[in-house]
């Protein structure tokens, strides 16, 4: 059995490309109106809760301010991203990846569990046995909160979607709130992205395994089993 299912690997790389393009075009779009508001409306910078910096060309796609082209890319990559989030959730629930690796138990949230995870992870052979509580919480937060929030706030900002799902805009407290949350979630994903890349670079085999699938490490030694009762048939020699 491979460490990473084919569905996980496929989604991982399609999503990687999608979120890089979405993030960098998003920064270009942010430059069009660099103020964030709460509520249904907002256009006056003095009502803003945050004045955003102007993102430099090296951080944006395209590399100069071009709202139309940035939106073209953003709107296009929203398709693989959005369909991908649905796809990976269905796949994770279907193949048990979620239940096995991401679902946390109450004991995973204790400070002791977190400290133990960090200690074990920094030592040699730290990633031998599945996901530790910190990984479960971080990945769970990305899959359960950040990615869906990114998708749903993005939909809520679109006036066409607001035409058939006004409740979605109201759930976030209005269009400008949805736009603010879209921005916050984007930086949340960026933060995860940085940690993810730094940790992956500590061992190039981890990256390779995301292409090949890798091999699932041998499970922990099975607990001792009770002696099997020899099954013998009359006349047949026991154990050959």
């Amino acid at each position: 059995m491979t460490k990473h299912a084919l569905t996980t690997r496929l989604w991982h790389w399609v999503n990687a490309i999608a979120i890089i393009v979405l993030f960098m075009t998003g920064l270009n779009i942010s430059n069009a109106h660099r103020h964030l508001y709460w509520g249904h409306y907002g256009f006056d910078p003095k009502d803003a809760w945050l004045d955003v910096i102007r993102f430099p060309g090296w951080a944006t796609i395209p590399g100069h301010y071009h709202l139309a082209l940035a939106r073209d890319w953003h709107i296009t990559m929203a398709w693989p991203f959005g369909i991908g989030v649905l796809f990976i959730w269905v796949a994770m629930l279907w193949n048990g990846h979620f239940r096995r690796d991401l679902m946390t138990a109450p004991m995973d949230w204790t400070p002791g569990a977190v400290i133990a995870s960090l200690k074990a992870h920094s030592g040699p052979g730290g990633h031998a046995h599945g996901y530790n509580p910190v990984q479960k919480i971080l990945y769970g937060g990305v899959f359960g909160v950040l990615l869906p929030m990114m998708l749903l706030t993005g939909l809520a900002i679109s006036p066409g979607v607001a035409g058939f799902a006004p409740w979605l805009v109201d759930v976030f407290g209005g269009r400008q709130s949805a736009r603010s949350l879209h921005f916050i979630a984007a930086w949340g994903i960026f933060g995860f992205f940085v940690i993810h890349i730094v940790l992956a670079l500590t061992d190039w085999r981890l990256i390779l395994e995301m292409f090949t699938g890798g091999k699932r490490p041998a499970a922990e030694p099975a607990p001792p089993q009770p002696e099997p009762i020899p099954v013998t048939d009359e006349g047949a020699p026991a154990h050959g």
Binding site: I20, I29, S30, A32, H33, H35, Y37, H40, Y41, G42, F43, D44, I61, P62, G63, L67, A68, L69, R71, D72, W73, I75, T76, A78, W79, I157, S158, P159, G160, V161, A162, G163, F164, A165, P166, V169, R175, Q176, R179, L201, W204, I207
Partner: protein
């Protein structure tokens, strides 16, 4: 050195990204892809909203205290300025093109027709929003009065303002033209439209972004195609900057 392959891999990916992007942006394939994505959004929105699904309407106390003017906020034309000062007594709204009965209505005639009032949110492509109460005539009513012909596929709005030396115009399809909230508004928050918001008449197309909401409207034209109008993009910003014709995203 374990470092090397991974660094060169990353550098390779970065370089590929950078050069690919500048090439991809201008290619035919990219434009085809963008168009497909835009059409996909429109098709999905229409399928989920139905043709008549309404944009949210707000309570009077939810309006923004003011309503921002953007893009053209003034019209240079001396006739326009003279009319603005006098309250538009000689302003005419034409309904023309593929119609059996072309119309030329004065502002008083427009106000005498059945009215619709709606408090809606205006979303600019830049990201900001404002909420105001609009009053005006449903475009569908006007098109019925003018007996729009079967072969009309799009409605083009001709405007009095110019930007970068070009006439502003916009266009929508017949689904949006006959949407109940698509009105030609003459009032904002109970007052005649201010100049910055498009006096004397502007469009409200509530399920699309602000640049579709043509201001200073002089004429409404029914056409089969907008390929021959302007540069063929279907609107001023579509022509000048490459904005999406379907502005529902």
């Amino acid at each position: 050195m374990v470092d090397l392959p991974r660094r060169s891999l990353l550098a390779g990916i970065a370089a590929l990204g950078a050069s690919a992007c500048s090439k991809i942006n201008d290619s035919e394939a990219a434009h085809g892809l963008f168009k497909a994505a835009e059409d996909g959004h429109r098709t999905l929105h229409r399928a989920l909203a139905g043709k008549q699904g309404l944009a949210k309407e707000f309570r009077p106390d939810q309006r923004s205290p003011t309503f921002r003017g953007n893009g053209s906020v003034t019209v240079a034309d001396p006739f326009y300025q003279d009319q603005l000062a006098k309250g538009f007594p000689d302003w005419k709204l034409e309904v023309r093109g593929l119609v059996e009965k072309p119309l030329a209505l004065s502002l008083a005639e427009v106000k005498a027709l059945p009215q619709r009032t709606q408090i809606t949110r205006h979303d600019c492509v830049e990201g900001w929003s404002a909420i105001g109460e609009w009053q005006g005539v449903q475009l569908g009513d006007l098109l019925d009065q003018a007996k729009v012909k079967e072969q009309a596929k799009f409605i083009v709005f001709r405007c009095a303002d110019t930007l970068y030396g070009r006439d502003y115009y916009e266009s929508i399809d017949m689904v949006d033209a006959y949407h109940p909230q698509t009105i030609i508004a003459h009032s904002l928050n109970g007052e005649p439209l201010p100049e910055k918001n498009g006096a004397p008449l502007r469009m409200r197309i509530e399920r699309q972004l602000g640049y579709k909401q043509a201001k200073y409207v002089k004429a409404i034209e029914a056409v089969t195609s907008f390929a021959e109008i302007g540069q063929g993009g279907g609107g001023f910003w579509e022509d000048v900057a490459g904005y999406q014709w379907y502005a529902g995203v």
